[in-house]
Amino acid sequence: MMKAVSTLATVRRIALAMCLLLGGLIGSTAAHAEYGDIVINNYSDEAGMRPAIFPHWFHRIRFRCKVCHADLGFKFQAGGNKINMLKIIDGEFCGACHNGEIAWSPENCNLCHSGKPGTPTQVHHSTVQKLVDRK
């Protein structure tokens, strides 16, 4: 009996997963930005700023992944780095390059803070977003 119940649960779980998968692959979202664009909205909305958008494509043309993800300590997680302007001005995270020497300085607020207000933190157009987050 117990076994039958657990089998049923498994079947249900698989069915749910399939639905999610199909839903994710078929349902097209209105937004369709660049693959790998990261929206970071940890503090922006509260602070009355537009969320920041990080375009991976633009940066990977210039730097290999390792530079940011190993040397600068960026975790592989959207919004997982708790970046704030203080850290950037101190030369951490984005500020390691965006200091007016390697790249433009953080005074150009709206080049990063360029997202639609209220856009949640996400890896835009990622598989996870399509399957799970559905944002």
Partner: protein, 320 residues
Amino acid sequence: MLVTIFKRSAQAALLASFSFAAVAADDLAAGKGIYDKACFACHKSGVMGAPKLGVKEDWQVRVDQGRKTLLDHALNGLNSMPARGGNPALSDADITNAVAYMVDAAGLKLDGGAAKAAAAKPVEKKAPVKPVAKAEPKAEPKAKSAPVAAAKPKPTVKFNRLMKSADEWNPPPAEDGIHDPDNEGVVLLQSPREGMQGFAPGISGNRVDWVKTLEAGTINPRFDRLDPTKKPFVMDLNIVREVKGSMPDVVYPHKQHTEWLDCSNCHPDIFVPKKGANQISMAAILLGQKCGVCHGKVAFPVTECKRCHSKSKKSVAFKE
């Protein structure tokens, strides 16, 4: 039925509007503005067979087809040319001006060819009826013959209507759905199509095969933040993972990964550097774990099965 009526009236409206544009003089200066914003991405360098700006031979064949056909292709798309250059926000007049500008730049005239001028005229006559007349269904029978004829040459049929065509990928930031077009900073951002021009084409993600692009030397991203001469420590070691069922086994190449990444990016947090110590499943990858930490986010997604599942199994003789 209702849908067809809608379609027809939409077609009629479109027809009407662009024959109106035909009446108005083409504004070359405005056309240049539109060209610089949208068309240049393909028409400057001739991406995917696009007629190049200033190349007469490219444009002659198009102009020979007549103004109506040329504008119809620009507005509704043809082959690689997306409808309205992929920017639905552009008006009929914008497109007409941009076409006129490009034709002019090739030393040609958009109205060229007497036969075409004649072909365009009947439409112009019909046009004034429609915008005035509110009873569109009435005008419909008249419009019928023209749209059907016009509809034939435009191959809007896609391989799969659920999949985006190549022209819909990599939209400029202002149209990508996450950037705020009201933010003045957005216009300063480089458009991905422009930034990734000439890269090895891919079939998913941002339609770039980054591994090939790097191998070909099209890009040379720094391995060190400050030192452009620093070279990556490339490790050429393939790991073969046998998988269940008839799916080909996975070959994991360290080489392509170490071109971009440092060992510490993956080991030991994501993958324990020991044979047999890592449980990897497609479910985990789809949910953003293991390979899915990058693949499906910034590296090619799981839809490209065979790039990982690349080692076919030896066929086993079937026994009863």
